[in-house]
């Protein structure tokens, strides 16, 4: 469960932040994206770990790619069919889960060398770490950018939204702030 803090994909290893910036504008988008990434991580861990003794060395990357791509497509179809509004908000970025370094990274660094149980646990840890981060960033951005959290108006009537928070620069600021705070708290060395 190191993925939850010490080896946190975003704060510690600075992995997977690309789509993190785009989908963290609202809490519901962050939750959906986090769920999607966690599902793909679990499915990838399941397949890669179960087949780890069968995968020929030289086609490992291809194997990861086709596995991850298939599950991402499944997530995309699922969202389009049963959650069309969320799909409209984050649809483009769901496809980009394939490029999310966290998944390929864990597959190569862990799932292909470890037992199924361990791999699944690792997937849950990384997935949760990623989801929680996204939700925290999204909570800040949605609160300041729209005045709401999960659609419920929280800010008082006179509040003027900080439009920058709905766009990429706002995401960069919040992310940088969090990396700084979390590393200060844990005293992590920068590398």
């Amino acid at each position: 469960m190191n993925g939850l803090w010490r080896d946190h994909p975003i704060f510690s290893l600075i992995l997977g932040i690309c789509s993190a910036l785009a989908v963290s504008n609202r809490v519901e988008n962050a939750l959906a994206m986090g769920a999607g990434v966690t599902f793909v991580l679990l499915a990838t861990a399941l397949i890669i770990s179960s087949l780890r003794n069968l995968i020929p060395m030289r086609v490992r990357i291809i194997t990861y790619m086709i596995t991850i791509a298939s599950f991402v497509i499944i997530v995309d179809k699922f969202l389009k069919a049963y959650f069309p509004t969320i799909s409209e908000s984050i649809g483009a970025y769901v496809g980009l889960i394939i490029t999310n370094c966290i998944i390929m990274g864990r597959a190569e660094a862990f799932y292909v060398q470890n037992k199924l149980g361990q791999s699944l646990l690792d997937a849950v840890g990384n997935g949760l770490g990623y989801t929680i981060t996204l939700v925290i960033i999204a909570a800040v951005r949605e609160l300041l950018g729209f005045g709401t959290i999960l659609g419920f108006t929280v800010m008082p009537d006179g509040f003027t939204p900080w439009v920058v928070m709905t766009m990429a620069p706002g995401a960069f600021f919040v992310l940088a702030l969090f990396i700084w705070i979390s590393r200060t708290i844990t005293g992590m060395e920068s590398d």
Binding site: R58, T63, I66, K80, Y82, V163, M167
Partner: protein, 186 residues
């Protein structure tokens, strides 16, 4: 051995995908249809609930076609015309509702756009789209500085979203001209 492995894994995964696709395809098509119908009803200002979109649509709107162009007619003779064109960052697609004279706009909705969130995307805000009601294409809509629109053919541009506003109005003008030439005779 490598090739065989990749082929087998590939086939298994592809089969799974084909399965998922056939399960979800009908629902996805239905969602797209509901979205279109909601947009038509909204442009025509026919009230509806999310649960009875289909019912309300079939009670109040007819699909029609002339000279190869598909469009919708409401019970009161208003037209609902789908439009599509190039915005600043991506396509802008929606429905333009017009009076039976095909000159005066009664409502506009946007179903899809990719303009800058918080700036260009404000063309989709209810307050902005409401400004189009009652405007006329004689012969076309003219974009003017924010807050200075006066008269039936002028539309405010949005401060900070000049290019998106411009693209949007150009699309409406072009599509209106297209419908006039294909449907004008009615």
């Amino acid at each position: 051995m490598m090739v065989l492995f990749v082929l087998i894994l590939g086939s298994v995964l592809t089969t799974a995908l084909v399965g998922v696709n056939s399960v979800t395809a009908p629902q996805i098509a239905k969602n797209a249809e509901i979205k279109l119908k909601s947009s038509v009803l909204e442009a025509l200002e026919i009230p509806f609930q999310t649960e009875n979109v289909e019912q309300t649509f079939s009670n109040n709107v007819k699909e029609a076609e002339k000279n190869g162009t598909a469009y919708y007619i409401a019970a009161n003779g208003d037209f609902a015309l789908p439009y599509e064109g190039a915005g600043l960052w991506g396509p802008i697609i929606g429905i333009m509702a017009m009076n039976p004279d095909l000159e005066e706009i009664s409502g506009v909705t946007i179903m899809q756009q990719e303009e800058t969130p918080g700036l260009g995307s404000r063309i989709g805000d209810a307050e902005y789209l409401e400004k189009f009601a009652g405007k006329r294409f004689t012969p076309q809509l003219n974009l003017v500085s924010p807050g200075t629109a006066d008269g039936e053919t002028e539309i405010d541009s949005i401060s900070g979203a000049t290019m998106s506003s411009k693209a949007f109005v150009e699309i409406l003008n072009a599509e209106h001209a297209r419908y006039q030439s294909t449907l004008g005779g009615s």
